[in-house]
Amino acid sequence: MLVLLLALFVLGPAIVCGEKGTNFDKVEFIQYSDDNTAVEEVKNGHLDIYYSAIPIDRLDDQSKQSLKIFQSSGTSYSLLLNPAVSEEFNPFSIQQVRFALNYLVDRDLIVDEILNGYGTPMISAYKPYDPDYLLILGELQSFNFKHNPALAEKIISDALEKAGAQKTGTTWYYKSKPITITIFIRNDDPVRTSIGEILASQLQSMGFVVKKDYGDLTKAFSTVYGSNPSDLKWSIYTEGWTIGGFVRYDSVITAQMYSPWYSNMPGFNNPEYWNFQDPEADSLSKAIFFGNFTSPEQRASLINQAVDRGINDSVRIFLACKTDQFIANKKVDGIINDFGAGVTSRFTPINARSDSNTLTIGVKNIYQGAWNPIAGFVDSSSQQIWGAISDPGSFKNPYTGYTIPVRSDWQVNAKGPLDKLDVPSDAIRWDTTKQKWVQVGGGVKATSEVTFHLKFGNWHNKMPMDMNDVLYGIYFMYQWGTNSTNGTMTFDSEYSPKANQAAKTLVGVRVIGNDTIEVYQNYWHFDSGEIADSAQVWPAMPWEMLYAMEKAVTDGKLAFSRSDAVSKNIDWMSLIIPNDAKIIQANLEDFESEKSIPPALASVNNSKYFDLRYNASASWIAEHGHAVVSNGPYYLDSYSPDARKITIRAFDDATYPFGAGYWKKFEEVSMPRIESVQVPTSVQSGSRLDIPVVVTPNSTVYYYFTNQQGKIIDSGKQVSENGSMKITLLPEKTMSLDLGSNDMQMFVVSDAAYKPDMYHSSFLVTRGQIQVPEDGMVGSIVPLETNYGYLVAGLVFAGAVIVVIVFVSKKRRKINGV
């Protein structure tokens, strides 16, 4: 009896209160539009984290001491060159001239001076922090782009002379007309303004007449994107790219940045314009985009070829990527710095902890777009909060981009890219014509099959999740993914085309248990995690909510997407807004009173089940004033537009599968780091070179030795368990190095985090024993003398001005007094 009482005393609170999956009881998102105010509020503890990157110049050394600073990849910068052939001579129509700009631009200057060191040089579309960057390391090294204006000038001069141009004095002429270049400089971004100004002066020094055209995106739409390239309204455009997300296998970047078919190259595939053409780049990027490869090696080869082609074309030249800084108060631990999202990762509010029960997060905007899971959540503000409220079935590892299970585990069965497997005849799909589930029948095949084991729990309204929620989501995709309206109202101009595409991939599903479902689809990837991610069926909201939302849309009261809302002059459905939530509530109450059963769940023979569901969700809306019900570790408590604040509270429920600290493993990831590299100052040609290296344990080191011409003399890869290793350059290799300065570059990566640490150094190759002077012998220390002369002169001048003013005013008074 005593034991029982003791157990009740200890476990009682847990039984009553459930088990929450977070360290905080409450998270408040508060709008702070001004960065300066937000920084001060984080410093004084009124805010714990600020969910917006702080510009480099806002944080002084004192601020950096009192804050936790997290760095993340930010905007990347590139130059878009106009290669159009026109009546007027266009120097960038010549490939060599474009390519030469890679030697003219000073990427190190951009990083060191314009980005104040908070950035990394880039020469391809892949940032150093992209997972696929490691695949093209060798390729990039082979270019060995360095700021070399002399080389750039030589290449440009040779190419222009071959084209018939002539340099008279300091200016290039073509058929007696000076060669003119127009740089469109985005002056709404100070970084791009600086890049444009520097490039303009460099091109002027090369002998071109440079016109600078300043403008923002609106003007760019007209001048750059909205004009025929052969009209030569622009020759160079300063571009900026924001990160689209940290993705393990990016299938689109080579198409987007280098290939005409993707409509992002000059001309933009406007049939009335001159368009840049490169069939080989198109072919390579299409193979990557459409997955026409059968192995990781083949994919890597395609990427290397595509990047090589793109860099050689040099229509788009990449310069650098910025490092953004996010700030947090020092008392907060457990912040997860996702390589893509930064600290705004969904894991941050879930894993963070401090002495307080409340986490306060500052955001730039509290409400930017509608909250609905169909065609809403299009802005970062709502996505960040929704990520903490709703659990996904699978997610991406914040440091590697690999697909990881969250609320589902899976087994994948795939026959490879070319073969197919049989789909059981009793697998089902939704027939929009018959308005019921039908069996796929015999003889149907699919490329892959994924068996999901779903980790159900309760919805926030305490109703248990079940397979009906899963099936309703699948029904929704089929029903709303029709090609045309078909006389029904189940069409949304933004959502339906996407659903239609997804429905083409899905072959059928088969429920084989209370929480187990097989999904058959025509999709293959060499990484089974990607197959599982593509087949994911985890529901974000209860089925009755979707049903009520559907009715609100088919009744013409609300729209799922902004486009439909605008075209029909109705509101864009936002479940967080009381008016819209009341419409959903009214529908639920009608369903309950009318004993309504949705067609997708017609086979469920339990009227009490439907009543319970309708009642639970309607009551939730009545109690909370919103219709946001999901299954994550937090639930939406309130949205206060006047206070510009959203509050979410921990979902204390025994059925929630993850306890607090479940995602702590993401805190403990050790980033690969180069601890020390001992590169000797010089090495004798023909002798062996040993370089001791210490890196973080279990890291892989990639190294490259290049000569003065940029040719790779030796490269290799080493793995070390304890982190100590020796890189050796054999005598025959050192003999191949040029006498004088040669380079060594090193990257260290680990499987736990795809963010390489980089090292670059030079060393001398000598013939025979040559003593290289030690550092400091040729230096001299010049004492700093402050010149007070200017200060004295200034003071004297100011004093003289004051004396004159006093004298004149006294004289005037005397005259007035007479």
Partner: protein, 350 residues
């Protein structure tokens, strides 16, 4: 011409000005915006598709992807009404008619905090906030300014006169938003007397909301008043100095009327017309808010609305806001004309 006839003629003229302003806005903005909006829509759709990895993986051929994107672009252009030229009857004619009935339609991108995309709701949500801060500040500034200006005018070349003039020059030299940043730094962080955010963190249904609101808006209000009242006082002082030199004032003094009465009942009344004009224009101008000041203090008013509408090219909101602000401006000019007639009998007799 009778005063009533004069007012009627003014009213008709102002209505014409309002319609002309609207038409010019639609012509200027609409003509440029169409091509930019189409480009922007196309680029946005491409970016959305590019960022949607699961959607991308569903395309098997270029033709499928191109067809999908071009259909999406067509849908978006139709939804935004860009399939009709800006000068088409539907866009311009119907718009002008609807606007007369204060039906500004639905915003293309922006929504109110309550989730409504009705432009009227959006404006009605932001306008009271702007009135609460900026118009209140303008009213306080003008009262303070009139009082101080009157005192300074009665003691020309005195210390108070010199301080007023000096303060006016200094305060009008600094941008409001910069002083705002300084005030937040000093009085919210260095000496935490006021909160840094001007928006209270209580819900409007909370009993303590209004008290909290006044407390939170104290700092921006003080900032606006400090910057504004100096130049007001200087203007009033200059008007009054001119009036105090008139013969009728000398006659009043000679008649033995009290100096204070001369100042407040006679001189100020005679200086009232230009003061009233400036007051009317200031009050109506305050309704437009101030973009940067609102950003610094995190005050969601008309200035921010205008800025956001222009940033995303939300034409209905731009037109609606322009209409409302122009209407208020014209009404304030009309009221100033009426008051002018009240203060200056010569206007009534003319």
């Amino acid at each position: 011409m009778g005063f009533k006839k004069f007012l009627a003629k003014r009213a008709i003229t102002m209505f014409g000005v309002l319609m002309a302003t609207l038409l010019v806005t639609i012509i200027l903005v609409g003509s440029n915006m169409d091509s930019i909006s189409k480009q922007s829509a196309a680029q946005e759709i491409r970016q959305q598709v590019t960022n949607n990895k699961s959607l991308l993986s569903s395309f098997k051929t270029t033709a499928q992807l191109d067809s999908y994107i071009s259909n999406e672009i067509k849908q978006r252009i139709t939804a935004l009404g860009l399939d009709q030229p800006w000068y088409s009857p539907q866009r311009i004619g119907l718009s002008m008619y609807k606007i007369l009935t204060l039906d500004f339609g639905h915003a293309k991108f922006l929504t109110s905090d309550s989730g409504s995309s009705d432009v009227r709701d959006i404006i009605l949500e932001k306008l009271p906030r702007t009135i609460l801060l900026f118009t209140t500040a303008t009213a306080i500034v003008s009262v303070l300014g009139i009082f101080l200006g009157t005192v300074a005018a009665s003691k020309v070349n005195s210390k108070i006169d010199k301080i007023t003039s000096g303060f006016a020059i200094i305060s009008s030299s600094f941008p409001v938003w910069w002083i705002g940043v300084l005030m937040i730094f000093v009085f919210a962080f260095l000496y935490p007397i006021f909160p840094a955010r001007a928006t209270p963190d209580l819900s409007v249904t909370d009993p303590g909301y209004w008290g909290s609101l006044l407390y939170h808006m104290a700092l921006p209000l003080i900032t606006l008043v400090i910057i504004g009242f100096g130049s007001w006082a200087y203007l009033v002082r200059n008007f009054l100095v001119g009036v105090l030199q008139e013969d009728f004032i000398m006659a009043k003094r000679a008649a033995g009327i009290d100096e204070k009465r001369i100042l407040y009942s006679h001189a100020l009344k005679n200086a009232a017309p230009p003061i009233v004009t400036i007051l009317a224009l200031s009050l109506s101008g305050s309704l437009g808010g101030a973009i940067i000041t609102e950003a610094v203090f995190d005050w969601p008013g008309m200035g921010r609305l205008y800025f956001e509408a222009i940033s995303v090219l939300d034409l209905p909101v731009i037109i609606g806001a322009t209409y409302v602000l122009t209407a208020f401006f014209l009404v304030s000019v009309f009221v100033a004309d009426v008051l002018y007639g009240y203060f200056d009998p010569r206007v009534r007799r003319e």
